[in-house]
């Protein structure tokens, strides 16, 4: 099936939004939600981050098809926070941020909890450990 990228056309030309832009917006919105410890992006991304290149789209997978966007978010939650509530807040915040900043129509925000962390510092470590397994 052919994937068609959304375009915003006006008198001056066409605006195309890259997947990386959507994942950065989604990542920044998700990490701000109370109860989210860290995003979980795989050992490759973690290694690159340790070398000094910050990746705000870490742990985000974006699928844009025509005018509908699906976002998958892999994250680690702080221990003690109610997971369904935190996940719902993430879904709301990410949907709102992506729709507001890009004008895309977000069909679904799927949240995958990959780890539970005691604090933000430990979160990075446990997220990396769970990926390594």
């Amino acid at each position: 099936m052919e994937m068609k990228r959304p375009e915003i056309a006006n008198d001056m030309g066409v605006v195309r939004i890259a997947d990386e832009v959507v994942s950065t917006v989604a990542g920044l919105a998700a990490i701000e939600v109370e109860g989210v410890a860290s995003m979980s992006g795989g050992w490759g991304t973690d290694l690159v981050e340790k070398l000094g290149k910050k990746n705000f789209g870490k742990g985000i997978r974006v699928e844009i098809n025509d005018q509908e966007t699906s976002i998958d978010i892999f994250l680690s939650i702080m221990y003690g926070y109610p997971i369904p509530q935190v996940a719902e807040n993430v879904q709301k915040e990410v949907r709102s941020a992506v729709e507001m900043m890009t004008g895309l129509n977000v069909k679904a925000v799927n949240v995958h909890i990959v780890s539970v962390a005691m604090n933000k510092a430990a979160a990075e470590e446990t997220a990396s450990d769970s990926e390594a397994e």
């Binding site: 795989g42 997971i83 679904a108 925000v109 799927n110 995958h112 990959v114």
Partner: protein, 174 residues
């Protein structure tokens, strides 16, 4: 890693060990590989050798692809909730971590190994644990069942069918 992939990986490793062993033995003059190579590459066996080589290459490529797949594809996770906004899932590793952290609140538990299985009606948690011998086993196990069920339902939003506890061993001290 599922059993099937472990089995394939084991076969591949055994082949690599045999080839490396043969090379090592040949380098010390303990084994002469040339007569075997000549037999494998003669007109009679050439086709069979090519089929075996293709199978090994196929096995290596499949294992290489499998090893680079991300965690998300080999652990689909357990669905916490599904609504208009999308789906929320939790990996088995995260649920096990949640169980281990909730059980830390009970004094006298030295070590636990949780295992999760799921069906349509919910989760079944099996916990193997090591406790302090001075403690009352029914009390500790009942408290463990209660706290694990409560935490998974209240914090995780998961439906728990049963929490099965098995005391494996005793260990004294702090």
């Amino acid at each position: 890693m599922p059993l099937f992939w472990r089995l394939l990986l084991s076969i591949y490793n055994i082949i690599i060990i045999l080839v490396a062993g043969a090379l090592l033995a040949a380098s010390f003059n303990a084994f002469a590989p040339l007569p075997y190579l000549e037999t494998a590459l003669n007109d009679q066996n050439r086709l069979l050798t090519a089929v075996v080589a293709l199978l090994i290459i196929f096995l290596a490529v499949v294992l290489l692809i499998q090893s680079w797949k991300t965690f998300s594809s080999d652990d689909d996770g357990i669905v916490v909730q599904e609504g208009l906004l999308g789906q929320v899932t939790m990996t088995v590793a995260a649920i096990e971590l949640l169980i281990m952290k909730s059980v830390r609140q009970i004094d006298g538990i030295k070590d636990i190994r949780p295992k999760i299985s799921k069906d349509k009606s919910g989760l079944t948690v099996k916990i193997e644990m090591m406790i302090n011998p001075e403690l009352n086993v029914p009390e500790v196990t009942a408290a463990t069942q209660k706290i694990v069920k409560e935490w998974l339902e209240n914090i995780g939003g998961l439906q728990v069918n049963a929490v099965k506890v098995r005391v494996d061993d005793f260990k004294a001290g702090k």
